[in-house]
Symmetry: C3
């Protein structure tokens, strides 16, 4: 299953970059300085996984000590902040990258929770926290009510990711479950975005 | 002391329901969707205990893995959000339920801190965090300055709970201390509410 | 090196007092009650270290269980809130005390992270979190976008503290590194304040 792991890894980095960009954009639009852009961007990219690790009891959190993740988050935030005028035109493309992050973070979060022996509700919650925690931190730091609380088929999909993971895990084992969950959630978000079912997200989130 | 434990347990669930309702109401009034109602409601009900467990070092936090608590919080949030027009009329009744939660959470928080060997200040702080942490998270997520910071005999009572617990614990042991603390704080809040000493709370908090 | 340790200790308490005062002032200006003043003040003084300890996995956090720290934070918050009309005139003096806190917290945070085996990025991050986390919590609880995100040579200096610590540690060992880092950051901030390079900080932060 080397190929599956590679794909999940690539998806994970796409997610980190897309999440980081959404935070850096928010910082730019709120007239924060470049350090604010890096902090907000890195928060969206990393905070979900950090909160998950704290709740599960993994110290220090992987998103801090596994260097490729924070470094990627910092670089992506910097680039998104500096090249805001160019990149922000491609919000539609970023929404698809964000969907890849949502699906992957949700699936990976569910798996880590399951491997640490959490119960069903814990696994679903950790899927949601991993995928949406960063966005909540971003909005709170920017002085806004978190977008995921507003009408929006986003957090619901992250919760769905946890449930799908649990079903597949019991049928096909952990590795297949991660992959299948990520793919299903990503496709679901793609359809939602393409069909325009998620207007609130389009206008508010990115 | 089976009866005492049963009573504390019942009080605990009343508190979870009352706290969850206050979060779901806030979500409804802020025009959040039903998922926002469940998240905000569950946060008020569970976040105080989760923050306490994180600070003490209990992983994963009891409020996540002991299923009856999160399930009760989710159900109560759902009900309070869906039946807002009916239930919100009974805010006075809910204030008494909230007082039961405040007293019980404060007493239980103090006990858990004491059993984990925290010092006097730590026990008092954990009593306050357990009882008021959820409300702070609710207000921050709703984009408001936490109610407990505004003139209001609420957080003070939670702090008082920690002190009372410590006094009774040294005199009569842990179990009696929990029960006595909860009862004293609940009666204190009942009197404050009935005498109208807590106008800020009446108008702002629920 | 007893004298160095003593100096770092004194600097640490000056920092706790200055940070606590900035939180209590914010509470006073936001029309919060005295309990709000103590909570906000203590948060600025202690939250950075608490967040650092949670991320590293030190439970319960030192800032809760090592009594002199929370007691000093509570007393300083109380005094700053009660004597606001007198003390707030001396904001310039407080800015220098705050600079002493920034340098010391940054250096101590870096050292604790290094001693717990965090990598380079983790050490720098913990320096920044220890020194600026309290201020972020203060601003979020007060319903504002954190000051450190606005144009301001403040968080940058905390990050710099982590880097300086790492360089000195590899050359001269841990104890010297803490002292040198604190002194360099404090002097840097003093110069920034005296030269007026940090207007945003002067007007917004305190």
């Amino acid at each position: 299953m080397g190929f599956v792991n590679l794909l999940i890894n690539i998806f994970n980095y796409i997610g980190i970059m897309a999440f980081a960009a959404s935070g850096a954009f928010k910082a730019y639009e709120k007239d924060l300085d470049i350090l604010g852009g890096v902090v907000l961007g890195s928060s969206v990219a990393l905070a979900g996984g950090i909160i998950r690790d704290i709740l599960i009891g993994v110290f220090p959190p992987t998103n801090i000590v596994y260097l490729p993740y924070p470094i990627m988050a910092i670089i992506a935030s910097l680039m998104a902040y500096v090249f805001y005028p160019c990149i922000s035109r491609y919000r539609n493309a970023l929404m698809y990258a964000d969907a890849i992050g949502l699906g992957t973070f949700s699936a990976v979060g569910a798996e880590i929770a399951a491997e640490h022996g959490l119960n069903i509700l814990g696994v679903i919650l950790m899927a949601a926290v991993t995928a949406t925690g960063g966005g909540v931190v971003r909005d709170v730091l920017a002085g806004e009510i978190p977008t995921i609380f507003r009408r929006d088929i986003y957090a619901t999909v992250a919760v769905l990711g946890g449930i799908i993971y649990l079903v597949f895990r019991s049928l096909l084992g952990s590795e297949t479950a991660v992959f299948a969950t990520a793919i299903i959630i990503i496709i679901t978000r793609f359809v939602i975005i393409m069909k325009g079912l998620d207007k609130a997200y389009v206008t508010v989130h990115l």
